[in-house]
C-alpha cells in the first residue's frame, strides 16, 4: 500500500469519527509532505529545510539557488510553450471535428422552410420550452449595415422555427440593442419570413422591446378569414444590455426615491417584489437559453432572469444554425437524437 493511500485511509477513518481520532498536530504532520513551500515572509519559521529547492533567495548559497530557480523558470516557460502548442493543435482538430459533425447534422436535419418537416423533427419531444431565449451577436465587420441585415435575418429565421415548433415566446438578446432602433423593419422582415415558411396563413406576430413605449404591433394574417388554422401568436422580445444590470439599477433608483419620500420601507424589498417588477418591465424567466457562440459567455444577459434557465451551446459552433436550435430542444427534453428521420 502506498504512502498516500495509507494516509488517505487514516484521514478517512479520522473523518468517520468526526475528526476526533487525530489531534490537530497529528493531522498537520499528515499534511506536511503535501504542503508547498510557504511564502517568503514566513520563511524564518522553517529555516532548517533548505534541502528542497525553494523560492527563497536570502540563503547563503544564493548563487546556486538562483541558478536553480532560473533553470526552473526556464523549464516552466518551455513547458508552458509546449503545452500551449499542443493545445492549439488539439483545438484545431477539435474545431475541425465539430465543424464536420455540425455539417453532418445540418445536412441530416434541414428544415427546407417547411413547417411540417420542423414539426416532424420535434414530434417526439416530451416537453418544449414555453419561453425560449437566444443570444445573438452583431458582426460589425463591415460597419455598413451588412451586419445588421444578417442579424435581422437571423432573428427572422429563429422566429420562424419557433412558430413552427409552437414556442409562444421568444426573446432575442443582442448586446448593443441596435435592433431596438429598427423595430418596424424587423417586424416586416419577420412577417416576410413567416409567410415564406407558412404561406398566406402565418401565425400572428407581436414584436416588442422593454422600455420602448407601445411598440406592440400584432399582425394578423393577411387572409384573416381562416383564423382557426393559425390562431397561435408568437411574441418576440428584443433585449439588450440595458435590460440587464441597468434595469436593476433603475429599480434601485426608484426604490430609493420612494424610500426617501417614505412611501416604502426597506423591509418591504424582497426577492418577490423585485421579481414581480422585473418580469413586468423586462421579462420573466426563460426556460431555455441558446447560445450560438463557441463558448458560454453571457455578455450582459439579464442576470436576474437566468437563475434557473437551461443554458445550451454547441462547443466550437460558430453562427446561427437550425441544427443547433434543434439539438437545444432535444437536450431540453432530455431526448436522444436519432440520426436520420
Amino acid at each position: 500500500m502506498s504512502v498516500a493511500s495509507r494516509e488517505r485511509d487514516i484521514y478517512r477513518r479520522d473523518a468517520k469519527v468526526d475528526h476526533n481520532l487525530l489531534t490537530p498536530a497529528e493531522r498537520e504532520r499528515l499534511l506536511e509532505p503535501y504542503l508547498p513551500t510557504p511564502p517568503t515572509r514566513s520563511a524564518s519559521k522553517r529555516g532548517r529545510k533548505d534541502g528542497i529547492p525553494s523560492i527563497r533567495i536570502d540563503q547563503p548559497k544564493s548563487s546556486r539557488l538562483g541558478v536553480r530557480k532560473f533553470l526552473k523558470t526556464q523549464l516552466h516557460v518551455l513547458l508552458y510553450v509546449i503545452v500551449h502548442a499542443v493545445f492549439s493543435v488539439y483545438i484545431r482538430f477539435r474545431q475541425a471535428y465539430h465543424a464536420v459533425k455540425d455539417r453532418i447534422f445540418a445536412i441530416l436535419y434541414y428544415h427546407h422552410r417547411t413547417p411540417e418537416l420542423i414539426q416532424k423533427d420535434v414530434k417526439g419531444l416530451s416537453r418544449l420550452p414555453q419561453h425560449l431565449s437566444v443570444i445573438l451577436k452583431l458582426e460589425d465587420g463591415g460597419r455598413g449595415g451588412a451586419g445588421l441585415e444578417a442579424l435581422v435575418d437571423e432573428v427572422a429565421e429563429i422566429a420562424a422555427w419557433c412558430a413552427c415548433v409552437g414556442i409562444p415566446m421568444l426573446s432575442v438578446y443582442e448586446q448593443s440593442g441596435i435592433l431596438k432602433g429598427y423595430l418596424p423593419a424587423t417586424h416586416r422582415a419577420i412577417a416576410r419570413k413567416l409567410s415564406s415558411y407558412f404561406g398566406p396563413q402565418h401565425p400572428a406576430l407581436s414584436l416588442r422591446a422593454p422600455h420602448v413605449p407601445s411598440m406592440e404591433s400584432p399582425s394578423s394574417p393577411p387572409t384573416s378569414d381562416a383564423p382557426g388554422a393559425s390562431s397561435k401568436t408568437l411574441s418576440i422580445l428584443l433585449l439588450s444590455s440595458e435590460d440587464g444590470r441597468d434595469s436593476l439599477v433603475d429599480l434601485t433608483k426608484t426604490l430609493a426615491e420612494m424610500s426617501q419620500r417614505s412611501k416604502l420601507s426597506s423591509k418591504d424589498i424582497s426577492p418577490d417584489l423585485i421579481d414581480a417588477e422585473l418580469s413586468e418591465s423586462v421579462m420573466g424567466e426563460p426556460e431555455l437559453l441558446i447560445l450560438f457562440s463557441p463558448s458560454v459567455e453571457l455578455s450582459g444577459y439579464p442576470p436576474w432572469q437566468v437563475r434557473l434557465t437551461e443554458i445550451y451551446h454547441v462547443q466550437d459552433n460558430q453562427g446561427v444554425g437550425y441544427q443547433v436550435f434543434l439539438r437545444a430542444l432535444y437536450n431540453f427534453a432530455n431526448a436522444q437524437m436519432r440520426y436520420g428521420r
Binding site: S2, A4, S5, A15, L31, F87, L255, E297, W304
Partner: protein, 358 residues
Amino acid sequence: MSSMHLSQLHKWMLSSPPIEWAVNQLRELLIGALRQGPVPQHIAFVMDGNRRFARSHKIETVEGHNLGFEALARVLQNDPIFWIILEVCYKSGVKIVTVYAFSIENFKRSKYEVDALMAMAKIKLQQLSQHGELLQKYGASIRVLGQRDLVKPDVLEAVDRAVELTKNNGDCILNICFPYTSREEITSAIKSTVEDYSRPLSAQARPFSQTRITQKIRSRNLSTSPLRSTSPTPSTSDVDDSISSSTTLHTDSPNDGQEGPLYPDPETITSSTIEEHLLTAGNPPLDLLIRTSGVKRLSDFMLWQCHEDTEIVFLDTLWPDFDLWSFLPVLVEWQWKQKHIEEKGSANGIKKPKIKVR
C-alpha cells in the same frame, strides 16, 4: 461492474510509489508551467453531483457529500479546503475561489440530509480552525457568504470562528457560499443601497459653519472697505459684490435648514454602487465559473457576477471525481482564449484583454 474493476486497477497502478512520485512531480511541473501564462484572478465552482455520485456508487447520500468534500482532497489526499487553497490558489496563483456549498433551496431537502450537511460543515470548519497557524502561513482567509439567519447557532459559531481566525490573511481568499442564493444577495444589495440613500445627509458633519463664514466675510468687508475707499471706482463695486454675495449667502442658509432632511440623489446610483453592496464586494471580477455534473444551469449562483464576460464551463464529471486533471484543461483553454482576445484586441485596437498579466 467492469468499469469498477478497471478503476480499481487504475487506482492500484496510480498508487504504486514510483508512479505516485512521478505523477506528483508532473503535477508540480504543470502547475508551475501554467503559472507562466495569464491566470484567472477569481474562479467560482458549483460543487454539483455529490448525490448522483452517491447514487451511482450505491452509497448513502450523506456519505456522497462527504466524499464530495473529499474530492477536493483527491489530489492532495487531504483536507478539501486545503486542496482548494493550495492547489488552485497558492500554486497556480488564483487570488479568489468561490464555492457554492449550500443553496437556500437545499433546505427543501430531507431534514436528515440537511442536518447531516450542517453537521459536516460545522465539523469541517472546526477542524479548519484548529489549523489556524497553517492557514496563516499560506495567507489564506476564509469568508462565508450567505444568509446567516438561516444557520443554526452552533454552526454559526464555527463559521464565525473560522472567519475571525483567518480574516487578516490577505493573499488569497476562499469564499464559501453557505446558505446562499444570488437573488437573495442581489435583493439585500438593493435593500442596503436603498437604506444608504434614504439616510438624510447630515450637514453638521463638516467642521465649518456657514453662518460663521458669512460673518467673517461681512466683518472683513467692513474692515477692508474703508481702507480700499481710497482707490476710486473698483472698490465700490467690490464692496457691492461682497455685500450682495453675503446677502445671498445669508438668504441661502435658512433655506437649506427649512427644507428638512436632505437626501443623496438617487440618480447617482450606478451598477458599481450595487456591486459594492454585494457579498463579493471588493473581489476582482469573476473570470471563470465551473459547474460539474453536466447540469447546464446557474441555479441561482453568482448571477450578477457572471453574466458579463465570465467564461462559464459546464463539465460532465461529478464533483467527487473532479480533480486537477479535469481542472487543468479548463485552465489551458481559458489561457488560450485570453491570448486570442488579446490578439484580436491588438488587431482591432478596441477590445481590451480582460486579465492583467502577472
